[in-house]
Amino acid sequence: MKSKFWTIVAALVVVSLMLISCQPQTVTVEVPVKETVEVVKEVEVEVTKEVEVEVEVPVGGEAVHIVARCKASPPYEEGRCNNLVSAVGAANQALADAGDDRRIELEIIQDDADWGDYKTEFELASDAGEAPDIICSGHEHIGDWATAGYLTDITDMIGDYPEFADVIDSLWAATELGGKRWGIPQDAEARPMYYSKPLLRELGWTDEEVESLDERVAAGEFTWEDMLDTAAEAVEKGIVEPGDGWWHRPSNGPDFLYYYYATGGEIKGETDALIFDQAAALKVYEMLYDAAQVRNIIRPDKLDGDWDYHKEYTSKFDKVLFVFEGTWRWASWHTNYLTDVGGEDYLFENVGFAPIPAREDGTGKPTTLTHPLVYMISSQCEHPDLALLLISKATVKELNTTYAVDSGHLGILKSQSDYAPYTSAKFLSLTLPLLEYTTFLPNSPYWSTWSEAYFLGIQAVESGELTPEEAVALVVDQLQNNLGDNVIIR
């Protein structure tokens, strides 16, 4: 017994010692004159691509390691981080030209995580002191992250990089919070009204009327109310099934905010508190109640969250007359559902697009909404100037156009409007003017709560559970309960 006990004890001690001594040894390495920088790129959770970039570091110089984190659906959107990789050479050349001895070595982490997980990951990493230097994410996250102190204020640094002067001016609004700028626009899109040309013709419209619809919408002649009347007529005449006159997305999202903007609603005021304009919201809810519960224009259960059904059902434009969707859906429709009927050509032949029509009882102007992604620099980044330099070299028409064309997003640079590779992408160049009508989500830490409450009202009236007036009262109650002084009810 005794000898067994001691044998076990001795064995345990020996194993423990072996385990301890297995720690990796560190060898001191002098900074080499020329070194190979490994760029590790994670495409999927398990797939990792490696790209090697040669970086010359002058004697006595410093290689600065920068980590960039992007979310992208492979392969179309991978330009988000890949453009930064492509910009490393130009950035280091600029440093060499300026006589700066530092050189950038870049590591990118890119995958297709869920937005919620992606956002939480950055928050946890920031809290642990391990945040990436650059993060590419939705601009509305500035509301939380800048407030929490996770981002570097780059307002005064932007002017040092001439490339940023080419960014379309209206997009900067999306990067601002508290009068400061916290990011650089990476992409943009628009959310147009698509319409089925064959169904309009079936309704008795002449070719001229159909073809001029986009211009009439842009001029404010064909309004939101006209669209609903047309859709109702199509339902009454049996050209479309009841509930298929006009469709919006099947779940919460940025789109519903432009409904509120279109009726004259404001969300940001003088203070940090968000505004809820009851009159504007009531108009939105009345319109939706009327469309879903009275006129059979949209299905009362349209907000069922079923995207697969929604995408497939709308793809051919032979069943639904008007669809409020995003510009990126264009590529998704023709690549996933229409390859056997002619792909993109089918869409150009049968589908038109225009800004979201003006509401007569609202602003009277057509609208749309852009939700740009922005590159942001972590407050933990030790060399924000280098991070920004790298972003500036990725914010050029050559790189951004490749990304935009591949991914179906709009350009973000003024110079893209007459840049041949961009203009030859027909859909992109036709939809770029939509940015003229664009609006944004607010950058505010209270936006998410505001949006959840406002969306409750939309669900309530469409499903017929509440009248528009009751819905407004419910939303006010929810907002006051959850946001307190941080919401102003008008």
Binding site: I20, G116, L303, S448, S463
Partner: protein
């Protein structure tokens, strides 16, 4: 080996300290003596002791070279050494080791080991940045050796104390058997429940996650009780738990167990395997199947059959009857658990009872009502209480199936609200404090339900020794 034999032949007196005293001395030496030179970026910077290495220091090389913090832990391990030496001294004076000499030494050793272990990654990073890895490893080996010696000494002391007082051994054995379960309950229930309670008093969210916690009292609870949908969600939760439990997790489970144990054994086995399929199917795949099942034409399978039967009304069934499907989807998964427990309990009933009853002319219904069901009281209590608690906190199938909809909170249950507040909004603003408040209510309901069940089913009577054996 001979020294150990010697220690036991000379009585249990000081056997532990054969190794305990060297261990204590080693601890003190290891932590005071190895003065390690820190060289940061080729510049000699500082000399530190093993205790400082083991207890966590941070060097910031960007703003020059700076020692950010030392720590109380610097003194921990030498202190342990001194305590053990003092113990040895008093034990020597007393002439024997007590149970606390043993347990105390083990406790001190294990706690210190955990602390050093927890600090290891950070200190090893510091050591790597300062390029002193090799010396650091020697230091760490010394630390672990000393702590191993201490723990072994404690074990030896416990053995010595057990020999002096065998009843101590029995007590120790009982605690030993209970300790894994106790450890798990403490780590995975009590500590999280306490953290949940503290969290529910804060306004922790995405926008203030980087700051220290702001305590806002019962504000989260005020908001929760004032929420327009509070009664609806509460009602939904009870509806969900009671209906799923009654019809499926207990009801159908019992029926399945009775049926499959009364038919041919192989056929019964086959049916039980079929009923296990929903449980072993990955939840996302399972829900995708259900969604397709209930989908509109031309995709939905139910509507496909209805179409063949010439039925005109072909809606999206998840929107038409959300509750039916929420309960079916959860119930089909839940029924298999009770089915297995009940079947094994039924199989364990001695056949003599049933044979005797049948000889007396009992019908199958009589056998079930008067013999099987009374003997299933214990498994019934277990399945009912366990499944109540499982259902109260389960929301994943509802999240995947309806997300709490359609419309306004139609199928939203308590756990889903808690999850949504804490982690699931479209725009990703997480409100952990608010979510914790909702979650805490669930903990309270669950504990209350457990107590009620234990009272109603008279748990104490069920676990008493059978009276027939006492006689």
């Amino acid at each position: 080996m001979s020294s150990t034999d010697q220690s036991t032949t000379s009585g249990p007196k000081l056997s532990g300290y054969k190794i305990g005293i060297p261990g204590a001395v080693l601890a003190i030496v290891c932590f005071f003596l190895p003065w390690i030179a820190f060289i940061v970026e080729d510049m000699p910077f500082a000399s530190l002791t093993g205790s400082q290495i083991a207890s966590g220091i941070t060097i910031n090389t960007n703003e020059g070279v700076k020692l950010l913090h030392g720590s109380m832990l610097n003194y921990l391990i030498p202190l342990v050494g001194i305590v053990v030496l003092m113990q040895a001294f008093f034990a020597y004076r007393r002439g024997h080791v007590s149970r606390w000499d043993g347990l105390g030494t083990i406790g001190l050793g294990v706690v210190t080991l955990l602390i050093v272990w927890g600090q290891f990654p950070e200190t090893s990073q510091v050591a790597e940045r300062a390029r002193i890895t090799l010396q650091f490893q020697y230091g760490i080996i010394g630390v672990y050796l000393a702590l191993a010696a201490l723990i072994i000494a404690g074990v030896l002391n416990v053995r010595a104390a057990t020999k002096r007082d065998p009843s101590f051994g029995a007590t120790l054995g009982a605690w030993g058997f209970m300790s894994p379960a106790t450890f798990l309950v403490v780590v995975f229930f009590f500590i999280p429940a306490i953290i949940l309670f503290i969290l529910s008093m804060t306004n922790l969210s995405s926008s203030n996650f980087s700051e220290p916690w702001h305590f806002i009292g019962f504000e989260n609870f005020r908001r929760m009780f004032n929420d327009t949908f509070f009664p609806k969600i509460m009602g939904n939760t009870f509806k969900y738990v009671i209906l799923t439990l009654g019809f499926f997790n207990v009801g159908l489970a019992l029926v399945l167990a009775l049926l499959t144990s009364n038919i041919d054994r192989r056929a019964g086995f086959l049916f039980r395997v079929i009923w296990l399929l929903p449980r072993i199917t990955p939840s996302v795949v399972y829900i995708v199947m259900w969604r397709r099942f209930t989908q509109l034409p031309p995709y939905g399978i139910i509507n496909w059959f209805l179409g063949m039967a010439g039925v005109e009304h072909q809606p999206y069934w998840l929107n038409e009857m959300p509750w039916l499907f929420v309960i079916l989807v959860n119930g089909f998964v839940g029924a298999s658990f009770g089915m297995i427990i009940f079947t094994s309990a039924i199989e364990a009933i001695p056949k003599d009872y049933i044979t005797a009853a049948k000889v007396d002319g009992a019908s199958t219904w009589n056998v079930i009502r008067d013999i099987i069901l009374p003997l299933l009281r214990w498994p019934l209590l277990f399945v009912t209480s366990y499944q109540t608690l499982s259902l109260l906190v389960s929301f994943e199938y509802i999240l995947l199936l309806t997300q709490g909809g359609p419309g306004l909170f139609t199928t939203e249950v308590w756990a889903l609200t808690s999850y949504k507040r804490a982690l699931f909004t479209y725009f990703g603003t997480n409100q952990w404090g608010q979510g914790a408040a909702w979650g805490l209510i669930l903990v309270i309901i669950a504990i209350t339900a457990s107590i009620v069940y234990l009272r109603v089913f008279q748990f104490n009577e069920l676990v008493q020794e059978p009276k027939i054996d006492v006689l």
